[in-house]
């Protein structure tokens, strides 16, 4: 099994990049959802 470590590294690091990227989208979405709720709750009170 020559070069198994390189193949393993390529797949793990590659999928790691996609996983971290997806996590950043999920985190930003979750923060933004909270911000939207806050803004929506503030609007009627401001009126």
């Amino acid at each position: 099994m020559k070069n198994l470590d390189s193949v393993f590294a390529a797949y793990v690091i590659g999928w790691g990049v996609f996983f971290v990227f997806y996590l950043t989208i999920a985190k930003r979405t979750s923060n933004l959802r909270a911000e939207l709720d806050r803004l929506k709750n503030s609007l009627p009170r401001a009126k």
């Binding site: 099994m1 020559k2 070069n3 198994l4 390189s6 193949v7 590294a9 390529a10 797949y11 690091i13 590659g14 990049v17 996609f18 990227f21 997806y22 989208i25 999920a26 930003r28 979405t29 933004l32 959802r33 911000e35 939207l36 803004l39 929506k40 503030s42 609007l43 401001a46 009126k47």
Partner: protein, 225 residues
């Protein structure tokens, strides 16, 4: 929400099936052996990245023409997702190259143009952070994005037009190139799976951008009161 979960689930199942096919269905390449299996992940990621940049390019063109914010959302989503795929290409390429070439990197036309592509889209995203006004940000980044996309055909053609250290094309490479039929089937399946995964990420990123616009609008409303 349910649609997004189903879309994500299908994308994950497809990439798992593609990884399985790359390791257990595709035959072992005679000279390179196991390390050649990176090809299915590396090239499929590269093609998906090109498609994501194409979506960005179309978004940029349509924004300049129609001045509709939705095209700008598509453009930034394509750029960010394309950048993630190109990052994977730039990481998996050297991991393949080191045991095969004996070096991690060389400044040949294919590798250099790919690195320039990565830098161009990093610049595209950086440019967007520097401009606050949404219409101005969308227009200027669209113009820059149209220019940045010019590098994509250059990356694609680099191994066809010039002699490079990077292997010559095995798909659409003309006479004398080609792949074993099983390898070709596994490759196209991997490319399909990565494209579905890429579209899932673009859809997620687009939803985020749409939500951001809504939040900006509400914040302005609140400020005006």
């Amino acid at each position: 929400m349910t649609k997004r979960i189903i879309f994500g689930g299908v994308a994950i199942l497809l990439v798992i099936a593609a990884a399985y096919a790359s390791f257990f269905i595709a035959p072992e390449e005679r000279t390179m052996g196991l390390i050649q299996r990176i090809f299915y992940f590396h090239v499929a990621s590269a093609w998906s990245g090109f498609t994501a940049f194409f979506l960005c390019f179309m978004g940029n063109l349509l924004y300049v023409w129609k001045r509709d914010q939705r095209y700008d959302w598509l453009a930034v989503s394509g750029a960010e997702v394309g950048l993630a795929f190109t990052t994977v290409v730039l990481i998996t390429g050297p991991i393949w190259a080191h045991p095969v070439w004996g070096i991690w990197w060389t400044w040949d036309a294919r590798l250099t143009s790919t690195f320039v592509l990565w830098l161009l889209y990093v610049s595209y995203l950086l440019l967007r952070t520097l401009i606050d006004e949404p219409d101005r940000r969308a227009l200027l980044s669209s113009l820059f994005g149209i220019f940045a996309f010019l590098d994509v055909p250059l990356v694609f053609g680099a191994i066809r037009w010039w002699r490079t250290q990077h292997p010559q094309p095995v798909i659409m490479g003309g006479q004398g190139s080609g792949l074993d039929p099983t390898m070709k089937a596994v490759f196209f399946f991997s490319a399909l799976a990565m494209h579905v995964f890429m579209l899932f990420l673009v859809a997620e990123r687009y939803a985020l951008e749409k939500m951001q616009t809504e939040a900006d609008f509400l914040a302005r409303e609140l400020e005006a009161q």
